[in-house]
């Protein structure tokens, strides 16, 4: 038998050019709508997007710059705004890594193992999605506040939780709890356990299997989860508002600071700080797009089956 005859040695069929580099939409009269319907649908979609997404974003920046660039800069340079920015970044820096570890562990546990109480755990992970953030904040006040269950113990040891950074971090962690786990669970369930078992038969330890096989498989889902989690951590208002105490320059995060400025009719300043928060979100998005662009090949390879 010559190698040429061996069908099992054949390369997979090449992907036709239209799938990479060809026109995005192929027009085929038999399966598409008439031109006016298509344009109408596109116009509706674009109109909706601009009205509800682009317009508000543009409004934030125009309002912020209404009184000129000088006023804008002064509003940002204000020490209270600076400390609010610092606190927001700090809260996210605490909450995101903790939820990263928790989210991966929970998703791993739920998708790769069978155990009693699994459904309960899944429901628990969803709890922060279903409970109002204000309620979550109040619960923390109830537990850690001066009159709370654990409050006296913390007061005795001179640890401030409520109206201080730990409380804000706790509230942020609670609210951003599900983002990473929820992103990973369906992905890991779909991937199954074959790859991990293959790694084990090839002599890899549990840790190496996780590091070399599981983690690369979920890399993109994980990144997306982290970005979502981060965006929410930056923007969280309700729960943090309850536990922070609104002490200017000490326990105000950016969203809280914006609200205070707004209530004080300092519109230009409020929008200036808001533009800062929006800017953070845009940077996150930009980062994601950059990574996707940089690793487009890998991304394509891992999605094609």
């Amino acid at each position: 038998m010559s190698i040429l005859e061996d069908k099992s040695l054949q390369d997979p069929p090449a992907i036709p050019a239209i799938f990479h580099g060809g026109p995005l939409i192929q027009t085929n009269a038999a399966i598409t709508e008439p031109a006016w319907v298509r344009w109408l649908l596109i116009a509706i979609a674009l109109g909706f997007l601009s009205l509800f997404l682009l317009l508000p974003l543009a409004a934030v920046f125009t309002e912020a710059l209404r009184d000129g660039f000088g006023t804008y800069l002064t509003a940002l340079k204000e020490p209270d705004a600076y400390s609010a920015l610092k606190l927001t970044l700090l809260a996210a820096a605490i909450a995101v890594p903790l939820n990263l570890v928790f989210g991966v562990a929970a998703a791993w546990c739920i998708s790769k193992f069978e155990f009693r109480g699994k459904q309960l755990l899944i429901s628990l992970i969803d709890l922060p999605f279903s409970v109002s953030p204000v309620v979550a904040g109040l619960v923390y006040v109830l537990i850690f506040g001066a009159q709370g269950w654990a409050g006296s113990w913390f007061a005795e040891h001179d640890i401030k939780v409520i109206f201080a950074v730990p409380g804000i971090a706790l509230a942020t962690i609670f609210v951003t709890f599900p983002f990473i786990a929820r992103e990973l669970i369906p992905l890991m369930q779909e991937q199954g356990t074959d790859d991990e078992q293959a790694a084990l038969t090839l002599g890899a330890t549990g840790f190496k299997t996780f590091w070399r096989v599981t983690l690369p498989n979920i890399k993109w889902g994980l990144l997306y989860g982290v970005l979502l989690c981060n965006a929410r951590a930056f923007g969280e208002f309700g729960a943090v508002s309850v536990v922070s105490g609104h002490i200017r320059g000490q326990t105000n995060t950016l969203p809280l600071h914006i609200e205070i400025l707004y209530n004080e009719y300092a519109f230009a300043a409020a929008f200036a700080v808001a533009s800062l928060l929006a800017g953070l979100a845009l940077i996150t998005l930009l980062l994601k797009s950059l990574l996707e662009w940089r690793y487009a090949d890998q991304l394509a390879a891992s999605r094609r089956h």
Binding site: K7, A199, A204
Partner: protein, 374 residues
């Protein structure tokens, strides 16, 4: 490395997957575990690899007890049904994975890893594909890479789970032949699971026929096909006709027809006859009268269905297309049938040979068959 399996039992929730399996596999043998879905063949394979803990029994590799050995320590090469290649690694990295995860000083240098990978790629005839990703390979190529990766650990035993299940017919045939050649070259003790009797008979030295968590018969391909030990084996290895007969004084009586038999049975029996063991004979010789109902030609075989004159039960007949009698096969023709070879089993209440359902709640995902990955 020879393997001894002693009274192995495994139950998923309340589904008995293995109910006391005993088997000895010789060193260097190529063995097929054959059976329908839910027969326990994959569970047995996974138990050998250590991927499925067993409830009771013993698994010996050579003289050492491997029952409680970890998956890693067993040094078993396992090829998964859907290959389980690591998508984010190139072909070379996949194959060298087992070398790259070795601890400390036993880990070969990366140059040595590369050399081993290309050596193995040459063995599986895929030289030059080192830099490709699994997504850029065809099914047959993936299968070979998975094999090369499993061989990289220098396994004591090679285990293959439905190795050709996800491939199309032509590729399957080539790969089957190639696997046989590879086995003859490497001489690694190999066990593979299949539900395809043709595959098992063509490829294996010995076939283990399983049903409902038990071994029905172990034997060479000729033995299990020509002397099936149980009605199940008879039925599972190819199609079969069932007739009611009676054994008296070393003679099988079939509605007036008397045939010699060396069966030790006596009294009412079930007669199992394969379609190609029913010969068409002249009207003047002994045989069972029947009438042809339908005729169909599939490739080199002419298949016909005939109804017996005495009880109207339907018989499948198979003839080669060059057989002179094949031309006479027309619907409505009266024919005379003579069973030239048959199996006899004591009469049991007539029921279809049943297999367990495919979907097993609480079974490992691989057994639920609900996942399609490539």
């Amino acid at each position: 490395m020879d393997i001894t399996i002693k009274n192995v039992r495994k139950t998923f929730a309340d589904f008995p997957a293995l109910t006391g399996v005993d088997l000895h596999i010789e060193s260097g043998e190529l063995i097929a575990l054959l059976g329908p879905s839910g027969s326990g063949k994959t569970t047995l394979l996974r138990a050998l690899a250590g991927l499925e803990p067993i409830d009771a029994g013993q698994i010996l590799f050579g003289a050492t007890d491997a029952t409680n050995l970890s998956v890693q320590a067993r040094k078993v090469g396992f090829v998964f049904q859907h290959y389980a290649l690591f998508k984010h690694m190139t072909v070379a990295e996949n194959i060298a994975f087992s070398l790259s995860v070795r601890e400390g000083k036993t880990r070969p240098t990366s140059a040595e890893q590369k050399r081993r990978a290309s050596e193995l790629l040459e063995l599986v005839q895929l030289k030059g594909l080192e830099k490709r990703y699994p997504a850029q390979l065809s099914g047959g190529q993936k299968q070979r890479v998975a094999l090369a990766r499993a061989l990289a650990i220098e396994p004591r035993v090679l285990l293959l789970d439905e190795p050709f299940g996800a491939l199309d017919a032509k590729v399957r045939k080539d790969l089957r032949r190639w696997l046989r050649e590879l086995h003859d070259k490497t001489g690694v003790t190999t066990v593979f699971v299949t539900h395809d009797q043709e595959e098992a008979l063509e490829l294996a030295d010995r076939v283990v026929v399983m049903s409902r968590g038990r071994i029905e018969q172990v034997g060479t391909t000729a033995e299990v096909y020509e002397q099936p030990a149980t009605p199940f084996v008879f039925d599972f290895l190819g199609s079969v006709n069932l007739l009611a007969g009676e054994v008296q004084n070393g003679k099988l009586r079939l509605n007036g027809l008397s045939l010699p038999t060396d069966s030790q049975l006596s009294g009412p029996v079930d007669v199992y006859v394969r379609p190609h063991d029913l010969r068409l004979v002249e009207q003047t010789s002994d045989g069972l009268d029947a009438r042809i109902i339908s005729v169909q030609r599939t490739g080199p075989l002419v298949k016909a269905v005939a109804a017996l004159a005495h009880d109207a039960s339907k018989m499948d007949i198979e003839l080669g297309h060059l057989d002179p009698m094949a031309l006479a096969l027309k619907p409505g023709t009266a024919v005379r049938l003579l069973p030239v070879s048959f199996g006899l089993f004591a009469r049991t209440p007539h029921a279809e040979v049943q297999t367990l359902p495919d979907v097993v709640p609480n079974a490992v995902p691989e057994q639920r068959g609900d996942r399609a990955r490539a």
